[in-house]
Amino acid sequence: MFRAIGRLLHRLTDATALLAGITVCIMMLQVTVDVVGRYVFNSPLPATIAFVSHYYMLFVVFLPLALPERTDGHIAVEIVTERLAPAVQRHLRSWFYLVGGIIYAVMARASWLEAMSKFDTSAKVIENNLPVPIWPGYFILPVGCGLIAVVLFYKFAAYLFRLPNGLDGAAGQNPETQS
């Protein structure tokens, strides 16, 4: 049962990262078409900036948040703890799963409240004379933050009750993923 939840989370994080990857491609193509259209045909693609800022960037920034967390891959300072005994390191790290889960849960709630208020006013921006609804983008934050919170709580539970962790399996962890 517990392992099954882990596998589900594993698949969910894969899916959100895939969605973010597709978004990266769409962002590249749309900006390219916009620039080429403007330069060659004097007709830019309308509302490119609105789409990039209010949709694509949010997908890329918040959806894959949980993916590095599967392998403790979020950037941290290793310098002090690596001198501690491995067991101490493990306890410390695991209790920070709980702290981190709480912080991301708080973020998820805050961004959910903001999303609901933007939903109520059906927030939009106007670019090139086109109204672009932007309220849906606000809901990406609670999804991304919520997922990483759940992943962190799961990892903490696995530590606390010494249960088999079904999340394992690194994806996309690579030394070249920093700076």
Partner: protein, 437 residues
Amino acid sequence: MTSIEIGFLGIGVLVLLLALRMPIGLSLIGVSFAGIWLLLGERPAWGILRAVPYNFAANWTLSSVPMFLLMGYVSYHAGLTQGLFDAAKAWLSRLPGGTAISAVCGAAGFAAVTGSSVACAAAMGRMAIPEMLKQRYDPGIATGALAAAGTLGALIPPSILLIIYGIMANVQIGALFMGGLAIGLLSLAFYMALIMVRIWLNPELAPRSGQHAGMAEKLRSLSETWPILTLMIGVLGGLFAGVMTPTEAGALGAFLACVIAATKRRLTWKVIRATLLETVVTSTSIFIIAIGASMLARFIAISGLGQFLGDLVTETQLAPAAVLLCVILFYLALGMFLEPIGGMLITLPIVLPMMEGAGYELLWFGIILAKVLEIGMITPPIGLNVFVIKGVVGDQVRLGTIFKGATWFIAADLVVVALAVFFPALITYLPALLRAP
């Protein structure tokens, strides 16, 4: 507790959490949220958390960060760099340390298509180091040169570090790119000179390869340099011929890299998968730190700590030069432990007002800052580029040897920083050209 005391307390807790290996982004967000709650109460704390993450990420100018990352990863995974290195070797093999110099030049070329230091070190290191070791180069100079040359990736445009600095300090990114190009080329010249002089003084460091390319081979080698050259010309040319803005250059560069990789039949599913995965993972890891740093900036502003420290600098009547020296030494020390983007984001909220107060130009300071932080990539104990090179060489070279080999280049870097400080025109000349319509 006064506001300033809460500010100091927050910084103290932050340092503690970082030392205990809490991820940087989380630590920043948690401390800022709690700090603002203490200062202003519950509702404003929630208010900041509702407003900042969305508005920070929903930013057109920052969209160039994932795009430049994409461009670099495509070039890397599709192996678009090999040709440049081979051509440099064919032309430079007669110089003392020809292969090492070729590798450094190749890194400078790759730097023009990637925004990150680590990617640059990894790409060139994987290509050049095995070859140098085969030629019986001294392992220290071979690995040290590549670890250092990797830092060009974050100086020569595009540069993620400079884009993020430009947003935080409100400096034009095109101008920063030109300044980065200046200091990148200066560093390249010093690295080349250093290698030549060291090997000229002690030829045992790098036995002559003996295999010198003829003219025909030299010319033939040029034909495989087109992928990188096309990318460089496409991006830089497009920027200055009025086709696109620096923000748009990221997307067009990435697109061009994909097209080139496809024509070379290297755009396989495996390459696409690895490229996209690394792009989104790196983006999300950088942005969560940047969002945290942005929240920390608000906490520091509300606590009055930033103003307090700025006033302190004014009151002590330190000469601007002394302030600058302290800041540079501080960042050199910081660079020993932190990676550049995180280190920069955590500290800018405090350092920027200080530098403005001391009357320094923020464009120029940004370039100095980038250079100094990048030195941290090759200083012990945490030198990410050195770790990457270690990953490339495996058991053949010890970590200590790489750090030792890099020391020479740190010395060269410090000379470059000194030059840039004493002759600011070295950096500001190119950006000024940009202003002429």
